[in-house]
């Protein structure tokens, strides 16, 4: 079982990264867990093909592929959001409404701000969302992102630029509805 031990030692530390990516791609907590489990199984079976040079990019590639295959297969996920389990803060974003919990006097600025940003990312198209997640949360280099997403580095750059521009639009659009406090 040496391989099993080695596999766990190399890849279990990347579990938070794997879950975060799956969570952003599926937009659903339970589905994200399923995808991570599935991806780790696939990775373990393919462990002899792991070159050993970038475990994080390798496992994230597999997580991403598992999510995308599943999203494609199960097309109800594409546009349908299951209301029972979705995070309410993402839900209002998905239906394009103002945050029902966003009472500025009761919530901290930071929290309100965070919700707004999270909601805006959730609204990005999948191909831009994954780039933002890999860059900002996982801090992958352009070359690593290119490897995970399987596109040239130039494409990573142009997508990242579109992703940030799009995100900025979504954020300013929301900010205009927000209030300004002055004493």
């Amino acid at each position: 079982m040496g391989d099993r031990t080695e596999f766990e030692r190399l890849f279990l530390p990347h579990l938070p990264a794997a879950y975060n990516l799956a969570r952003w791609l599926t937009r659903h907590p339970a589905d994200a867990e399923d995808m991570v489990q599935e991806a780790y199984l696939r990775a373990f079976r393919a462990f002899d093909r792991f070159s050993g040079d970038d475990g994080k990019a390798w496992i994230l590639t597999i997580v991403r592929n598992a999510c995308l295959t599943s999203l494609k297969r199960d097309s109800r996920w594409r546009n349908v959001v299951r209301l029972d389990t979705v995070d309410p803060l993402e839900l209002h974003a998905l239906v394009g409404q103002a945050n029902p919990l966003g009472d500025p006097e009761k919530h901290l600025f930071a929290k309100r701000d965070g919700e707004r940003v999270r909601a805006a990312i959730a609204r990005l198209p999948e191909d831009l969302r994954e780039i933002i997640v890999l860059r900002e949360f996982e801090e992958l280099s352009y070359a690593q992102i290119a490897r995970v997403v399987d596109v040239p580095v130039g494409t990573v750059m142009s997508r990242l630029s579109r992703a940030r521009a799009h995100l900025r639009e979504l954020l300013t659009e929301k900010a205009e509805h927000g209030q300004t406090h002055k004493l």
């Binding site: 994200a32 780790y40 199984l41 600025f109 900025r168």
Partner: protein
């Protein structure tokens, strides 16, 4: 050999710059241009602030049972054992570097938790400073008098920050706001110096230890941090390091004086 870049070229380099993907030479040319061009420098600050905002969200927390679930799935899959692999030299080097990274990580974690105001303080305060510059609406109390600013914080933060009046030394108070740093709500004071802005973060000092000023910088901003028995302070600005240090010394003296007075006198401050 000074390479010059145009505003148009620069636009395409903003993302790679913010992401640390430029060569040293391009980075120099980029920074020279930005230092002299207000429009481009605003665009760069916007991208940095946006990136910082996203980063501050952090990952979705991993569900506590997930690791066990994955292990169980691997146990159940024992039938599909992968072909045995021998550990190559590459691999041994990889493992060694992995271990080295763990050690470095552990040391960093120790420094992190014992350092002054906490988590990568300079990165965090610089981002906070940029956020303030970009979002004028963050300036929630618009006043130049400490007497107005100080009471405004009551109920917004769990402590009463000291608000030094440094206008006579050429650092007028511009206003205050609250922000979120090191997992807590902190008081933020904004001062001016010519056309520059200085952000002073005030947070309760959990360690209660007195610390001499430490300085640092990131992304073209300077930062000075110190703490007394009650509060930790961070001053951040694009002002030159010398003047920021001057500001910090003044602020430090002023807050120390206030502290002494508060300790000695009856609790009569409003």
């Amino acid at each position: 050999m000074d390479r010059r870049i145009s505003c148009e070229e620069l636009t395409d380099l903003i993302n790679p710059y913010v992401d640390g993907e430029l060569s040293a030479q391009d980075r120099d040319a980029f920074e020279r241009h930005v230092a002299a061009c207000a429009n481009c420098s605003r665009a760069v600050a916007e991208t940095m602030a946006e990136s910082a905002m996203v980063r501050r969200l952090g990952r979705h927390p991993t569900p506590p049972g997930l690791e066990d679930r994955v292990r169980a799935a691997l146990d159940a899959d024992a039938g599909h054992k992968p072909r045995p692999r021998r550990m190559s030299l590459d691999r041994r080097l990889y493992v060694a570097s992995h271990l080295a990274a763990l050690v470095v990580g552990a040391i960093a974690a120790v420094l992190w938790t014992t350092g002054p105001p906490k988590p990568d303080p300079i990165g965090e305060v610089v981002s906070g400073h940029i956020r303030g510059l970009l979002n004028e609406q963050f300036k929630v109390v618009d006043s130049s008098t400490p007497h107005t600013v100080r009471p405004w914080f009551a109920g917004k933060v769990e402590f009463a920050p000291r608000v030094p009046d440094l206008s006579e030394s050429g650092y007028p108070l511009l206003g205050g706001r609250v922000d979120y740093l090191a997992q807590r709500t902190v008081a933020v004071l904004m001062y001016g110096r010519r056309e520059h802005r200085i952000t002073l973060f005030v947070l309760p000092n959990a360690t209660r230890t007195h610390r001499e000023p430490t300085t640092g910088g990131e992304r073209g901003f300077h930062a000075v941090g110190w703490s007394d028995a009650e509060f930790a302070y961070w001053a951040v600005s694009d002002l030159n390091a010398r003047e920021l240090r001057d500001f910090s010394d003044l602020a430090r003296n002023a807050t120390a004086t206030t502290a002494r007075r508060a300790a000695g006198a009856a609790p009569s401050t409003p």
